[in-house]
């Protein structure tokens, strides 16, 4: 099972998540993967697990209340971009991205 956890794979994961790992961090993650692998094998030992429906919320809510279609006043640009890096005539500016 070791083959699909390599340093390169971990670096690609990190890159896809928009950050880079140092050597040590990469090594840390590498043996964490091994650990996860072992412990997830524990999970797969649980009988007829595949017939159980995955749970994505702690418990169902019987009557979910949806929002009436009423709008509120917009944020001012000052508030909205109070913490923004660069604002040019009411818009946030970043270096050009490919369309």
């Amino acid at each position: 099972m070791m083959n699909n956890f390599t340093k390169e794979i971990i670096d690609t994961y990190a890159e896809n998540l928009l950050f880079r790992l140092s050597e040590e961090e990469n090594a840390l993650v590498l043996n964490e993967f091994v650990d996860i692998e072992e412990r997830m094998n524990l999970i797969n030992k649980i009988p007829n697990l595949s017939s159980v429906e995955p749970m994505s919320h702690p418990f169902p809510l019987d009557d979910v209340i949806l929002r009436e279609d009423i709008h509120e006043e917009s944020l001012s640009v000052d508030d909205a971009f109070k913490n923004a890096h660069k604002v040019t005539n009411r818009e946030v500016e970043v270096p050009r991205v490919v369309a």
């Binding site: 919320h57 169902p60 929002r67 009423i70 946030v92 270096p95 050009r96």
Partner: protein
């Protein structure tokens, strides 16, 4: 070697609503950037999505209209990817249980009925819009979080015309049901096209090419045809392997498709169920209520206009272009105006006003009831069709009721034969020489005599009866 084109469409339509789908910001176009934004649209830390009840109902309504199977629960998922137009770093969409699956939209093309099968429709949120200026990109979050319905068809269409016919039918439905204004010019309807070719009779699909963000139906047609030709040429030259699974964009100027990205390995969106939105039970009574709100759709109306009111295909098509116009027309028919007569006036006189200033029928003062009053007069020969048109113009332009206009302008037509005879005799008596010239062959003088009668009666003489009496009188004076 004959190939069959296999086309599938992925369509994003902006839904109409006052507020956005998960935030309370205004859902509407604005000239001013960042003028319709709330904290969630900027993914400020700690914000949560709250589903707009109206958008939820509209999504269900479209699922009903497109005859989709509707799940027991409404479930949302996260589609995770990074891009500056996606502040949360994920889009809330539907992947596990879309609001509608395995639907169908029946369209007419060259007299044939084609059932376009729909893979699924799902409710999701739009991204912010990016303005690229010189070496910077400016981000406007007005569109961030606007409700979108994505419609995904099976790859079951085989020509550009079929694809465009599908898009037009869907747009009409969206407008008729008021789910979306579907205005391609405002980017409210954006289309991705998947095109692949296969040998005639083959079943399995070959590599499909995706053409992204084709924003007008004309471009869709051009893009598909170009792509079919491009792939055909490659196959004919034995270079089929050059057709790779890739994303291309349609370039309007050159009318060609251009490859967009080299690395093509599919991005893994790491879908999982949105934990902040509980599963929502879709209730039977809500579906019943929504079904009752669905108006008669364009295709049904067209069938009604042609089969029962025997209008021409052309007139029927004009009427179903716009729901309000079709409703106006149908109200006229319900008021027992002759369907053909009503159609003549609605598709000409009245429509000219709409087209001239790009108005909606509701903007005009005239109502079906007023048209009924006018056309009844024409039917009982109290006024001519010319006068009827004039009356309609006056009602629309002066914004006055028919009775009011009729009262202060005696517009009743003179069709009493003895009165007309008196006037015709008067005209003939004062034009002895013209009568002789008429009898010596200058027959166009007949219109001269009619003109004389119209002058005296200020256009109110009934033309058909006047001509009958005049012909007889001229005979007597041979």
């Amino acid at each position: 070697m004959a190939y069959q084109a296999v086309i599938g469409l992925e369509l994003h339509c902006e839904l109409k609503s006052k507020s956005k789908v998960f935030s309370k910001a205004i859902n509407g176009y604005s000239e001013i950037p960042n003028n319709h934004i709330r904290p969630l649209d900027l993914a400020l830390p700690g914000t949560l999505p709250v589903l707009n009840f109206h958008s939820y109902k509209e999504a269900l309504k479209l699922a009903l209209v497109l005859k989709c199977e509707i799940p027991e629960y409404m479930v949302f998922d996260r589609k995770n990817y990074y891009y500056p137009d996606l502040p949360k770093g994920y889009q809330i969409t539907q992947q596990t249980a879309p609001v509608g699956i395995n639907g169908e939209l029946v369209i007419d093309l060259d007299g044939k009925e084609i059932a376009v099968r729909i893979h699924d429709i799902h409710l999701e949120e739009d991204t912010a819009s990016l303005d690229h200026i010189s070496n910077v990109t400016l981000i406007d979050y007005n569109r961030s979080g606007v409700p979108l319905i994505e419609v995904v068809t099976y790859p079951c269409m085989h020509s550009a015309d079929e694809a465009v016919a599908f898009l037009e039918n869907l747009r009409n439905i969206l407008k008729f049901t008021e789910i979306s204004d579907a205005d391609t010019k405002l980017g409210q309807m954006r289309c991705d096209v998947n095109v692949s070719l296969r040998y005639e009779g083959d079943y399995d699909l070959r590599t499909k090419v995706e053409i992204k963000n084709v924003n007008s139906f004309a471009n869709v047609k051009e893009a598909i045809n170009f792509e079919i030709n491009r792939q055909t040429k490659l196959l004919d030259e034995g270079r089929g392997n050059e057709i790779i699974q890739e994303t291309r964009r349609f370039d309007e100027e050159t009318g060609t498709t251009i490859s967009m990205r080299e690395k093509v390995e599919a991005v893994d969106y790491r879908y999982f169920v949105e934990p902040n939105i509980p599963k929502i039970k879709i209730k039977e009574e809500l579906l019943k209520e929504l079904k009752s709100e669905i108006p008669m759709l364009p295709r049904q109306r067209k069938k009604l206009y042609i089969d029962e009111y025997d209008l021409s295909e052309y007139d029927a098509n004009v009427l179903i272009k716009d729901k309000d116009l079709a409703d106006f027309y149908q109200e006229c028919v319900m008021l027992e105006i002759d369907p053909q007569l009503a159609s003549n006036y609605v598709t000409t006189t009245i429509l000219s006003y709409l087209n001239k200033d790009n108005l909606n029928i509701k903007d005009l003062y005239i109502t079906p009831e007023m048209l009924k009053v006018i056309l009844d007069k024409q039917v009982n020969n109290e006024i001519s069709s010319k006068q009827a048109r004039e009356l309609i113009d006056q009602v629309i332009n002066e914004k006055k009721d028919v009775e009011e206009i009729l009262k202060n302008k005696d517009v009743s037509q003179i069709s009493d034969e003895s009165e007309l005879l008196k006037i015709i005799t008067e005209v003939l008596d004062s034009n002895e020489s013209q009568i002789n010239d008429y009898h010596n062959g200058r027959t166009n003088l007949f219109d001269f005599f009619v003109g004389g009668v119209m002058k005296i009666t200020r256009g109110k003489a009934n033309p058909t009866i006047t001509k009958e009496i005049l012909t007889k009188e001229l005979e007597k004076r041979k």
